[in-house]
């Protein structure tokens, strides 16, 4: 069941998605962290961020909308307070980073480059470039290229670029970030959405617009992985609404070498381990492997 992603060796192809698994340690009472392929921690920025006012979340049909505002204590605090505890877990830890401008991304990347216990970086490019009129890095191939190049130059760690679904043609973005030197591509991040509270006659969350996640987005995510796979030269990591092994297998057969489980961790803190076990059972039953199943639906 082992897979190699961007030079990171995983016990199995199932990781936990950023922002849905805290720093991992919070889940140790409920699941076997050692049985995960990798843990991707909550998004980290150079400086601490307080996050958005509440309400921050609202449930939607088979999904949820969130506008957390990327609350986090900053890369420095992560390195000082969380990383020493994470080193004790026998599962690769991938740091998810984001920034308001390219220099911040690069500095966050280089800080993480010099410490023990980080197996790789996942670069969240679904954020606005404050220095460039607020254009979202992940919606413009040139901006995406620039930010990934800067991270690439700042670190020797494996780099995974996490794509935004908020684009017309995902293939253009895959090409741009691969050209910039990414080692792998993960997709998708949440899809912008909105809920109106008709009693209060205003948006249900304070930020008005939020990111949609959960089973509701899965078919969109599978389609995007399928499209990305038609051009990708690096491994793809499928994300979006996975709650069972069958869901994960859809992504794998569409072309993903690995997957991430996100919102499902809230329904069942043991969900990611169960997905991993289910994929293994499927592979055993059909005398195959995750690697062999990658892209199976394309052939």
């Amino acid at each position: 069941m082992t897979v190699d992603i961007a030079g990171i060796r995983l016990k199995n192809p199932v990781m936990t998605a950023s922002g849905t698994f805290g720093y991992g340690l919070e889940f140790s009472p409920y699941t076997a962290l050692d049985k995960l392929g990798a843990i991707i921690v909550k998004g980290l920025s150079l400086r601490p961020r307080p996050g958005n006012p509440g309400p921050r979340i609202v449930e939607t049909p088979c999904g949820m909308l969130n506008a957390i505002g990327l609350q986090n204590a900053g890369v420095g605090t992560f390195i000082k307070e969380k990383l020493p505890l994470l080193r004790k877990i026998k599962t690769p830890v991938i740091a998810n980073i984001f920034g308001e401008n390219i220099a911040d991304y690069a500095e966050a990347a280089s800080m993480l480059d010099s410490v023990d216990g980080v197996a790789g970086l996942e670069v969240n490019i679904s954020c606005p470039n404050v220095k460039h009129g607020g254009i979202v890095f992940g919606t413009d191939p040139n901006e995406a290229h620039r930010v990934v190049s800067a991270v690439r130059a700042a670190t020797g760690l494996p780099v995974i670029t996490k794509l935004s679904p908020n684009v017309t043609d995902i293939r253009v973005m895959v090409r741009a970030v691969e050209e910039a030197g990414t080692d792998a591509v993960s997709l998708i991040n949440t899809i912008p959405g909105m809920v109106i509270d008709v009693e209060k006659r205003r948006p249900a969350i304070a930020n008005r617009i939020g990111g949609l996640s959960g089973p509701a987005i899965r078919p969109i995510a599978v389609r995007m992985v399928w499209e990305a796979a038609s051009v990708a030269n690096t491994p793809l990591i499928g994300i979006g609404g996975i709650t069972t092994a069958r869901d994960a297998l859809e992504f794998i057969m569409a072309g993903a070498a690995a997957v991430q489980v996100g919102t499902a961790n809230f329904l069942d803190p043991d969900a990611a381990v169960k997905v991993a076990e289910g994929i293994r059972d499927y592979a055993t039953k059909h005398k195959t492997s995750a690697a062999e199943l990658t892209g199976a639906a394309r052939r």
Partner: protein
């Protein structure tokens, strides 16, 4: 803290729209004020677990009881569950209420379903004055059980059909003294008023807050409440999580304008 599948012992309507749910679940230790996240359906809609306060540990440690009101999709599904069916329970979660300190006059102020976390507190302290507010007489049925506990009860109803006509905060104004400690749970407007009254009387006040939740264990950062910390370097600690930092907070720590 556990994540378990547990059997329903009973699920009975104790007053119109209010249900007492007995679960064959025996957590090692429950502190008054803690809650659980219930998976009301195996399906994907409703997707998220629902938070409910722990009402009572059943006699003989047979299980735990929750008391809930049917307000929407999830609680409607829950109300249709029968004994013998099972549910996913995550908990006990949250911090719970702190002890009152020696010689304090214990006052509990509850609005509607806000009585739930106060029941185990009164049960543990074996002391205290319960102030309960409801819209009308029908809403006071849920405090039947409290009459068996050793505590004094005063009731206020908005329509005057039971107890004193008015709000629970009117009762609190009459009862609060500087040597009192106030525990409160109820709708946000009530809690805000309670915190003002307690502050004016110089009495410490603990409030149990509610927010929509996704994870219940402090990882999604969805259930944030704003605190009064305003210093620049404390900026990243501006928000606290109701599920993992709370649900019980010192009322003086909260930014009530944002609640």
């Amino acid at each position: 803290m556990q994540n378990s599948e547990v059997k329903i012992i009973h699920n009975k309507e104790v007053a119109p729209g209010y249900f007492l749910l007995g679960l064959s679940w025996t957590p090692k230790r429950v502190r008054p004020g803690q809650f659980v996240m219930l998976r009301v359906s195996d399906g994907l809609d409703p997707l998220l677990r629902r938070p409910f306060g722990i009402y009572r540990v059943m006699p003989g440690q047979r299980g735990v009881e929750l008391l809930y009101q049917v307000v929407g999709k999830g609680t409607r599904i829950l109300a249709a569950k029968r004994p013998g069916e099972s549910l996913g329970v995550l908990g006990p979660l949250g911090n719970g209420f702190p002890k009152p300190g020696k010689g304090k006059k214990i006052i509990m102020a509850a609005g509607g379903m806000g009585i739930v976390p106060l029941y185990p507190l009164i049960n543990e302290l074996k002391d205290g004055l319960l102030l309960f507010g409801a819209r009308g007489k029908a809403g006071t049925k849920v405090i039947k059980d409290f009459k068996k506990l050793k505590c004094r009860i005063r009731i206020a109803t908005e329509d005057g059909s039971a107890g004193q006509a008015g709000l629970v905060t009117d009762l609190l104004r009459e009862e609060v003294t500087p040597d009192a400690v106030v525990y409160a749970c109820g709708p946000p407007g009530m809690l805000k008023a309670v915190s003002v009254i307690a502050e004016q009387a110089d009495a410490p006040c603990w409030v149990s807050l509610e927010r929509s939740m996704a994870c219940g264990i402090g990882v999604c950062l969805g259930c944030a409440v704003k605190t009064r910390t305003h210093e620049e370097e404390a900026e990243n600690r501006l928000y606290k999580m109701v599920c993992s930092d709370g649900p019980v907070f010192s009322s003086g720590d909260m930014d009530w304008d944002a609640i």
